[in-house]
């Protein structure tokens, strides 16, 4: 408070002076805005820490900008406006046209009304939930423990719900497992293989969820559900490993020389 009052007293204009009409005497209210340094000296505790950090962050930004030979812009990314937006708008009109075309040519139909007393032979959710539905049918993988006398630790249904949570949870923490500046699949064959395996698993588990979709022995189908993703992932890994050298040569020449990875 004392800081404020002394500040105002020293800056106050003498009252005798007439207001000037030419606009030159107008002081923008922003001039009164305290700098980060001033705010820092006035505050204490957490807010002071915050201001100190702001000051540091600004200095860091400034230093990085001055050091960088990347002079075009200071955001390390592809600009949303105008590049991305213009490109997207052009494709957007095609897209909406496609939607209307699809709706006109392939309209949906409605089934029989709900009847609690007759269970249909095939119960399925919409296609995008097949994977989740398939994970509910992982009963054969639910281990029965000899300690519990061959009993299962949890019901098969609970196991299926947990499987859903585990899958979604794993996808969620991917950014915290896979770090670094690599962008292309060839740069990280392992993570590309995990991705391909995951996509394949989404398909195979979907097929497995509709058990009678493919006429095949159920045990074999169950095994294939897990084998195909693993094999697919391994093939991806091998292919990318092989391609890697040539690709990385190009990448290093074109890109990483200009922007060295952290």
């Amino acid at each position: 408070m004392t800081d404020d009052t002394t500040h105002q007293e020293t800056d106050a204009e003498p009252e005798a002076e007439e207001p000037r009409a030419d606009g030159s005497g107008i002081v923008a209210p922003d001039d009164e805005t305290p700098t980060w340094r001033e705010r820092k000296t006035r505050t204490q505790g957490l807010s002071q820490l915050t201001y100190e950090y702001f000051e540091r962050a600004r200095r860091e930004d400034q230093d990085l900008r001055q050091e960088s030979d990347y002079v075009e812009r200071d955001v390390l990314a592809f600009p949303t406006w105008p590049h991305e937006v213009i490109r997207n708008l052009a494709i957007a009109s095609f897209f909406v046209g496609m939607l209307i075309f699809l709706s006109a040519t392939l309209p949906p139909h409605i089934g029989d009304p709900a009847n609690p007393s007759s269970t249909p032979a095939i119960i399925l959710p919409d296609w995008y939930l097949y994977w989740s539905f398939g994970l509910l049918k992982l009963g054969p993988l639910n281990p029965d423990l000899s300690i519990l006398g061959g009993q299962k630790l949890m019901a098969d249904r609970t196991y299926g719900v947990l499987a859903n949570i585990v899958v979604v949870g794993f996808v969620a923490i991917v950014p915290f497992l896979n770090k670094g500046s690599a962008r292309r699949p060839v740069e990280q064959p392992f993570w590309a293989a995990v991705g391909v395996g995951g996509v394949l698993f989404a398909f195979t588990i979907s097929v497995y969820s509709a058990k009678n979709l493919i006429p095949m022995n159920l045990d074999l189908l169950f095994d294939l559900t897990f084998l195909i993703p693993i094999v697919g992932g391994f093939v991806t890994w091998a292919v990318l490993k092989t391609m890697r050298e040539g690709y990385m040569y190009d990448l290093n020449r074109r890109y990483y020389r200009l922007r060295p990875p952290k």
Binding site: E72, A77, W81, L99, L102, G111, P113, L129, G160, R183
Partner: protein
């Protein structure tokens, strides 16, 4: 001393001395009048600042910058899947609002044999309503396409490593969004209250019942009981047309806002 209020900075005198055209005079008078009441100059300054900040970013295109002769990654069409899902969401929202005028979420017995009011309102939309069949078709297709686009969008982000620092937070928001999209689809799937809907609902109840500890509570909350009834349909309807739209729209806005601030992750 007059009681008339003084114009401290004498804007009128300043305007007289500037010799303005009538258009300019009207403009300035309006501006000053508004500014005295609403302080709009502050906001104009803000807008101007924003305008320059947005337009400052006019770099060489990515391909020029890095001398990429392989344009495939730059023009990679999958980079527009995020916009596609947003567009499909908007189309679904508009057609859904129109459908909502005619749909009633009631599991009470309808006039025809075996049908419920909900089922018959869908039948009415498809049979009797002008443009109704097309409307439902558009709504359904935009929903399907949105889910597909969201899945592919996630794959694109995964395989181009676009989730990496500093974009982890947006990836997490994306996970929430894709889950909510599927909940959106599921709740919508139940609304016609036909055989498919009913038994999909049954699975939903069983799924929530098998959640450890909280199962029964979840089933009560989401489905209004352990077997399907009017309460279920009502809850699915409210989730579908009230709760989810607010939450998902907000999240989409945040998601896109973060993309705007951070820029598109560079393909290379």
């Amino acid at each position: 001393m007059s009681l008339e209020k003084k114009d401290e900075y004498d804007h009128k005198g300043w305007m007289k001395q500037k010799d303005l055209s009538p258009v300019e005079t009207v403009f300035l008078t309006t501006l000053i009048w508004l500014d005295k009441r609403l302080r709009i100059v502050d906001y104009l300054e803000l807008m101007e600042n924003l305008y320059y900040k947005v337009n400052l970013q006019m770099p060489k295109s990515h391909t020029e910058q890095y001398n990429l002769d392989n344009k495939f990654w730059y023009w990679y069409p999958l980079y527009t899947l995020g916009l596609f899902s947003t567009l499909a969401y908007v189309v679904a929202a508009i057609s859904g609002a129109l459908l909502g005028f005619y749909y009633s979420p009631s599991a009470a017995a309808g006039t025809e044999a075996a049908g419920t009011v909900a089922y018959e309102s869908i039948a009415f939309i498809m049979r009797d309503l002008q443009f109704g069949f097309m409307l439902r078709s558009i709504h359904r297709w935009s929903a399907q396409v949105m889910v597909a686009a969201v899945f592919l969008h996630m794959l694109r982000v995964y395989f181009t490593g676009a989730y990496k620092e500093p974009r982890e937070l947006n990836w997490l928001i994306g996970i929430v969004l894709i889950s909510l999209t599927m909940v959106f689809g599921y709740t919508g799937y139940l609304l016609p209250w036909d055989q498919l809907a009913f038994w999909a609902g049954q699975i939903g109840v069983e799924m929530s019942l098998s959640i450890p500890l909280a199962g029964e509570w979840v089933a009560q909350l989401l489905f209004g009981g352990f077997s399907l009834s009017q309460a279920t349909l009502q809850r699915m309807y409210i989730l579908h047309v009230f709760l989810l739209p607010f939450v998902v729209t907000t999240l989409i806005a945040i998601h896109i806002g973060i993309v705007w601030v951070q820029g598109i992750a560079e393909p290379h």
